[in-house]
Symmetry: C2
Subunit: 421 residues, 2 copies
């Protein structure tokens, strides 16, 4: 039966609704407990890096630094070189920090709020706005929300947001930043194209306007098309805006999510500014762990091979989600979803006005979904339609059960809505 | 010859000056390069923890958490329990973070500036002051200086600062904090006594006044008198000011300076406030390293034994400094110095108005000393007399050479000064 729900007669819709309600009740009674909320690596993926828990680490880095002692606030050259190569960034323009690029982004924002960027006024107490492509990453939006930075949502198209719309927004001097997940965006898998990025780094903007370029998934291909990282720093320099971009990356979804190395790549002026303030915070990053990672990963190809092993585990999970959504929801006129070629998420757009209901129904059925609205600034999805699916953590069997359940909830919520309408 | 320089005739002083100048010139020509600026553990001390570079770490903590994955922003119970016991703090009142308690202090200050403490106004743009016992720790003072927080110096007496003077200062509602290194204070080794601490936690102060209690050296005894940590949180609670204290500690000078675990101990309200803001910064600390430390240290006695091994290395260095200063400067009327029973520093007070000159002369002689004034707010020592000596890093032989050189510089600067006078 692949009739669109909107084409069903009232009686047929009522019958379907009853059948779905009964399926849902069974699920709720079954006591399952499934969680597809967060982009966490699965135990299988973490096991790929078992050697990181046992590898011996030398006491000194290649430049003679004693990694056990204080100091070295740019991080070790050997780990910066590996990720510089992967991101297409010169080793002098990338620094290595502790286990979270989110922390670097947070600190950059705090420094901007308290000290100001590039000699401009601190943002504290001022009307500051960020451009927020939607759907987007909830933890980016949380930093803005927590700091009282307004967010202006713009729709993410197939190759990034509409650059004319963005350029118009950026011409407002109170617009100070823009969140970008350039490859395999969280959550809809969009890959920014060169034309879009060149426009973003060229457009006029405030002197302290920065693109917060989060390479969270740049190395995380789901197919054998391994796109290179976009050379955004180079393009920004070519456009005459060398300080336009804060580029972030980490090993969180490469090695261990909670015990990796993070990176900030940017112009000399931006790195100097960051380090000036970061030096008050810390006498240096965890160099032992940086050296452990450099020894374990060996080189850029070591990372590439590891990412292929992750793909072997992840790609079948994305296939299962697509297979079940296609079988259960295909042709029913109540949902569309993305077919990402990389990253950690699938975006499921359900019938307008039903996303919250789907999440609530799923919860009753023992399936935890990311809260509806999480992909939008201030948790507000104006259409109440976007749901982020995170297939990485559950096993294939759990994922199958979860997606069957979610499909039931999507259909049930839609039929409820249509019967009310 | 142990005549005080002030008792010498002009001719004798001139002769001495000439002799010291010649000694100094020889040192300067010898090309030595010695550094006693920072309280860094020596390679010998770091070697005590060689097993930390090779120990295998389990993938799961005692509570079943996968330490490799995201989450767990309070840190692992097993490491919090060990340091809770050492600090006399219940495990529910201590959280474990990454490699630097300086970072926790910095973030606490940033959160206070941007968000405010305990529902009070953010400190940004307001006249905020900290009480700064002097001499003190330059990195504490740097946080205040960088954030534009004024510092009010108060003299550190033998058991802490004068509590009446502090209480009077704290009655000003714009006074929001006080730096305390309660045991073996940096740099003069003072140990706060119970009476002083009870007065500090009892005195009236602003609702967002906090004592920033930095246990950097609390476990770092130089004699076999191993004083227990002062139960400051308990005394604050008994005084009816349970939120008075932010208590910090770390393993930086226990295991590896750059790769340890840091701790924040405080009231539930303070920890909740910190974690609310820290959660926007990070999805969790490096739990793998926390578990590595817990497995390696085993328990509180493991730490105590390790600290005894550190003492075996450190105590002879402190003895050498004292021996040379006594032999070279004893009875000369130009310097006094501390005889600490713990910590990492000796404070050398030279003739008023000569500390900068001693540091400059030492530099010419190839000996790097902590800049004069570093132990005072804004790098300003009003008497220009305090020099911080850090004996931990150099070898015994290097330290002997350095202290002979420093002694020459102290005498030379004093004789210059007296001849001018």
């Amino acid at each position: 039966m692949t009739t669109s729900l909107t084409d069903l007669s009232h009686d047929d819709l009522s019958a379907l609704h009853q059948q779905l309600s009964s399926e849902h009740a069974k699920l709720a009674a079954s006591g399952v407990c499934l969680n597809i909320t967060r982009g966490k690596p699965s135990p299988d993926q973490l096991d790929l890096n078992a050697d990181l828990l046992t590898i011996d680490v030398p006491s000194h880095a290649e430049d003679g630094q004693d990694v056990r002692n204080y100091g070295g606030n740019r991080g070790l050259p050997e780990i910066r070189r590996i990720f510089g190569e992967l991101l297409g960034v010169d080793v002098d323009h990338i620094i290595a920090a502790d286990n979270s690029s989110l922390s670097i982004m947070h600190d950059l924002a705090m420094f901007a709020v308290v000290y100001g960027i590039a000699g401009q006024q601190p943002w504290f107490g001022r009307n500051v706005k960020f451009i927020a492509p939607v759907p987007g990453y909830d933890r980016h939006f949380s930093i803005c929300e927590h700091l009282g930075i307004d967010m202006i949502p713009v729709e993410l198209g197939e190759h990034g947001p509409d650059v004319d719309e963005v350029a118009k927004l950026a011409s407002d001097p109170s617009v100070k930043g823009m969140w970008v997940v350039p490859m395999y965006a969280n959550p809809n898998g969009v890959v920014y194209d060169e034309q879009t990025v060149r426009a973003l780094v060229s457009m006029p903007a405030a002197p302290d306007f920065r693109i917060w370029w989060d390479n969270a998934y740049t190395l995380h291909h789901l197919t054998d098309t391994e796109r290179p990282a976009l050379p955004v720093l180079q393009w920004a320099e070519e456009a005459g805006n060398p300080d336009r971009v804060f580029e972030l990356a980490s090993t969180s979804k490469i090695t261990f999510a909670g015990d990796g190395v993070s990176f900030l790549a940017s112009s000399k002026a931006n790195l100097d500014w960051y380090l000036e303030h970061a030096a008050v915070r810390s006498i240096g990053p965890d160099k032992v762990n940086q050296l452990r990672h450099a020894q374990y990963l060996r080189d850029a190809d070591g990372v590439r091979n590891l990412m292929r092993a992750h793909r072997e585990i992840l790609a079948p999970k994305f296939a299962v989600v697509d297979e079940i959504l296609t079988r259960r929801l295909g042709g029913r006129g109540v949902a569309t979803w993305t077919h990402p070629t990389g990253g950690y998420f699938i975006t499921l757009d359900v019938m307008d006005g039903t996303a919250s209901r789907v999440v609530a129904l799923a919860k009753e059925a023992g399936i935890a979904l990311t809260p509806a609205g999480a992909s939008h600034p201030l948790h507000h999805d104006p259409h109440d339609r976007t749901i982020r699916l995170a297939p990485s953590f559950p096993s294939l069997d759990e994922l199958r059960d979860a997606m069957e359940g979610v499909s039931t909830c999507v259909l049930l919520a839609a039929s409820e809505k249509l019967l009310q309408g």
